[in-house]
Each structure stands twice: as structure tokens, then as C-alpha cells.
């Protein structure tokens, strides 16, 4: 009983610790990466290669004066960044991050590297929380008493609900292939190879679904080329125009935590999680650590992919964004799962 509780608490501490340390690292990677891509220097004064820059940024944000403009709706104004951060943190609870079956710690089973091992609605839980995340943006836009915030907030929520459809429908194919909502079982269904050399990752039969999901992930995290809610040329900073100090930092942290969750989901759903072709992960702690390293490496690749895309592509126009979401992404996602259905009925998959 107590050993169980301690194991759960350790898992919680690890997940929160990793998420919160990834944020400053990603800020650094983003700034150095953008400099690399655009042939600039980037932050290079604070610490070696500017590595301490995020620390300085954090101190600045915490000690910065808190400006609350006149006419804001006080309660909702503070509630918005709170929802953003709380939702971003809670999403990770159903994400497994390694193969930990059958391992014990202090004489208690650890039930896999996942905080909530027995929840059988895994993916649905993530989508339900993602749907709830829209409110932080709507409320921030509405309560700020600023037209840029309001326009940014409404735009952003329209964009998020539009791409949420493409995202949820593109996952249906994966659910059909693995017959489970649990992400660890989704990974289990992707072990092994076809013809001896193609890994059984969902990305190969469901390339359309994978692309749709990734595009939707970019739109859901409000990243370039879909960062219209904060299109600085027209909307100043969108929904968080009026936010400063730690409240702004909350939105900022939530954005990067969502980035980590999205990358982890892409890896788990379409790129085989912690599996590698031709590699049987042994049981026991050695295998567990190996699986953690493989998973972290894959997630790191997709985090870099997000940065790479952001500094390479220009921004979409709002009508183009909506047309892409409704006229291209949703039909493609439907085609994806119909193809999976036909292929499974014919016994190809």
C-alpha cells in the first residue's frame, strides 16, 4: 500500500520534473536553432553557448512588474493562464514513456512507466483535456479588454476546434489497428516487422493519417506556420497581449509543455514508441532504461522538427488555414481510416 503510493509519487515527480526542465532547454534550443537556420548568432553571452540564457529569462519573468490593465475581468484574467498551465501538465498523465512491465521498486510493482497505468481511455482523456485547453485562450482574449486579445482569442479558438477534428479523426486508424485506447498497447501493436525489414510502425500503412496528425499538432500548439493567434504583424501578440510577468510565463510554459506532449504522441501513435526494428528490448532494468533512451531520442527528434519547421515556413493566411483544415485535412483523415478498414478486412494489415 505505502510502497505503491511511493512508487506513484516517484513517477509523478519524474514526469513533472522532466516536463519543467524541458521547457528552458527547449527555449534555448529554439533560440539557438533559429539562429542556426537564419545564419545568426543567437544568445551566446550568458554561460557557455548561451546555455544559461533561459535561467536569466526565468528570473526576469518572475521579478517583472505585474501590469493588470484597467477594465479587465480580474478573476477570469488570472484564471486563463492558470487553466493553460494546469491542462498542459495534466495531459501527460496517460503518456507512457518506456517499457517497464514486470519491474519492481521497493518490492512494489511499478506497472510500466506511466503515471496512471490502468486508465483504459488513454487517448480519449488527452483529447478531452485538449478540448478544455481552448478555454484558456478564449477567456484570456475576452477578459483582457483589448481588441487584439479578443480577435486573437476568437481566431485561435476557431483554429483549434477546426484542427481538433482532423486530429481526432486521424487517430481513428491507429485505434483500429491496435484495438485499444491505451497508449502502451498502441505501442505493443507496433512491434515486429513486415517482410523482415519494415518496422510495423503505423506511419508506414497510415502515412496520410500521420501527416494529418502532425499538421493538426502544429495547429493545436499554435506554432508556425499556424501561429495566427499571435500573428505579431497584425495582432500584436494575440490573446496574451495584455499579460506580463509570471502570467505570461504560464502561457509560455504551457505552450512548450504541449509541444513535448504532442511530440510524445506523434512518436507513440505513429512511430512505434520505444520500439526499434530488429531490436528486442530485454526485460528488467537494462531494457527499461534502453526503452527510455530510445523514446527520449525519438521525442527529441520531433521537438527539433517543430523548431525546424517554425523557422523555415512562412505563416498561413487565416482563410487558407481554415480551408486547409476543413477541405483537405478532414477528408484526408477520413480516407485514412477507411483505407485501414478496407486493408484490415482484406487481411493486408
Amino acid at each position: 500500500m505505502w510502497a505503491d503510493a511511493i512508487v506513484t509519487l516517484i513517477k509523478l515527480a519524474v514526469v513533472i520534473g522532466v516536463l519543467l526542465t524541458t521547457v528552458p532547454i527547449m527555449v534555448w534550443v529554439e533560440r539557438r536553432g533559429s539562429a542556426l537556420i537564419q545564419d545568426r548568432l543567437g544568445p551566446n553571452r550568458v554561460g557557455p553557448w548561451g546555455l544559461l540564457q533561459p535561467v536569466v529569462d526565468a528570473v526576469k519573468l518572475i521579478t517583472k512588474e505585474n501590469l493588470i490593465p484597467d477594465g479587465v475581468d480580474h478573476f477570469l484574467y488570472i484564471l486563463a493562464p492558470f487553466i493553460a498551465l494546469a491542462v498542459a501538465l495534466s495531459t501527460f498523465i496517460v503518456v507512457p514513456f518506456g517499457q517497464g512491465d514486470g519491474l519492481t521498486l521497493f518490492g512494489s510493482k511499478i506497472h510500466g512507466f506511466i503515471v496512471a497505468p490502468d486508465l483504459n481511455i488513454g487517448i480519449l482523456y488527452i483529447f478531452a483535456l485538449a478540448a478544455f485547453g481552448v478555454y484558456s485562450i478564449v477567456i484570456a482574449g475576452w477578459s483582457s479588454n483589448n481588441k487584439y486579445s479578443l480577435l486573437g482569442g476568437i481566431r485561435s479558438s476557431s483554429q483549434m476546434i477546426s484542427y481538433e477534428l482532423a486530429m481526432t479523426i486521424s487517430v481513428v486508424g491507429v485505434l483500429m489497428a491496435s484495438s485499444s485506447f491505451r497508449l502502451d498497447q498502441v505501442v505493443m501493436a507496433q512491434t515486429g516487422t513486415w517482410l523482415g525489414f519494415i518496422p510495423k510502425w503505423n506511419v508506414f500503412p497510415q502515412i496520410i493519417g500521420a501527416i494529418t496528425f502532425m499538421v493538426a499538432a502544429f495547429a493545436e500548439t499554435n506554432r508556425l506556420p499556424f501561429d495566427l493567434p499571435e500573428a505579431e504583424a497584425e495582432l500584436v501578440a494575440g490573446y496574451h497581449t495584455e499579460y506580463s510577468s509570471m502570467k505570461f510565463a504560464s502561457f509560455f510554459m504551457a505552450e512548450y509543455i504541449n509541444l513535448v506532449t504532442s511530440s510524445a504522441l506523434i512518436v507513440l501513435l505513429f512511430f512505434g514508441g520505444w520500439t526499434l526494428p530488429g531490436l528486442t528490448i530485454p526485460h528488467g532494468w537494462a531494457g527499461a532504461i534502453l526503452s527510455l533512451v530510445i523514446f527520449a531520442a525519438k521525442v527529441a527528434f520531433f521537438l527539433w522538427f517543430f523548431v525546424w519547421i517554425r523557422w523555415t515556413l512562412p505563416r498561413f493566411r487565416f482563410d487558407q488555414l481554415m480551408a486547409l483544415g476543413w477541405k483537405v485535412m478532414i477528408p484526408l483523415a477520413v480516407v485514412n481510416f477507411l483505407w485501414v478498414g478496407v486493408a484490415m478486412a482484406l487481411g493486408i494489415l
Binding site: 512588474e65 505585474n66 484597467d70 492558470f82 494546469a86 495534466s90 497505468p117 486508465l119 484495438s179 509570471m246
Partner: protein, 118 residues
Amino acid sequence: MNQYIPILIFTLIAISFPIITLLLAKLVRSGSPNAVKAEPYECGVKMPTTAYDTRFSIRYYLIAVLFVVFDVETIFLFPWAVMFDKLALFGFIEMVVFLAILLVGYIYAWRRGALEWA
């Protein structure tokens, strides 16, 4: 009920974390507010209009209604997808009929320009 206890704990932590950081920031930050700082942002001039004078395109409403309809549709896809291997061909045909009826609405929306923005 045991599987929900980690979720309960995690939710409590997720809720208290923003509260703690916001309170912490409150303790350490400086502040000297004045009337000009508290004006809503506009490039250095006084705002000629307030936020709520802005009128919105009816398209936002249409997008939200269409979203609700399609969202309900995707909800029906989920239990179907996880049981797909057991429902077999019968379930597949069932879903194709369901989607075919909705396709009519999708084509109608497209033809009436509900999916166009401008």
C-alpha cells in the same frame, strides 16, 4: 477506484503548481503602477475604441456549429474503431452508411460556401 488515485493526485499537483508560481512571483516582483501603464495596449496612443466595439464575422459561429456536428460524429467513430476487429464487415458497412449520409451534409456545406472564409 484505485486507478483514479494517481490522476487525482496529479490533478491536485497540476492545479497547485500555477497557484504556487503565481504567488511566488507576487512575493518577489517589484511594482510601481500608474495610470498610463494600466491603459489597454495600443501602439502608444489612447485607444479610440474599446474591445467590445468589435463585431465578428458570422463565420465564427458557423465554424463552431459545424464543429459540434462533426465532433459528435467523431465520438461515434471511437467505440467503433476499438471494436473494429470484432464487429468485422457488418460494422464496416454500418459505418460507411453513416458516413455517406453525413457526406451529403459535407458536400452541401461545401457547395453553399460554409467552408469558405472570405
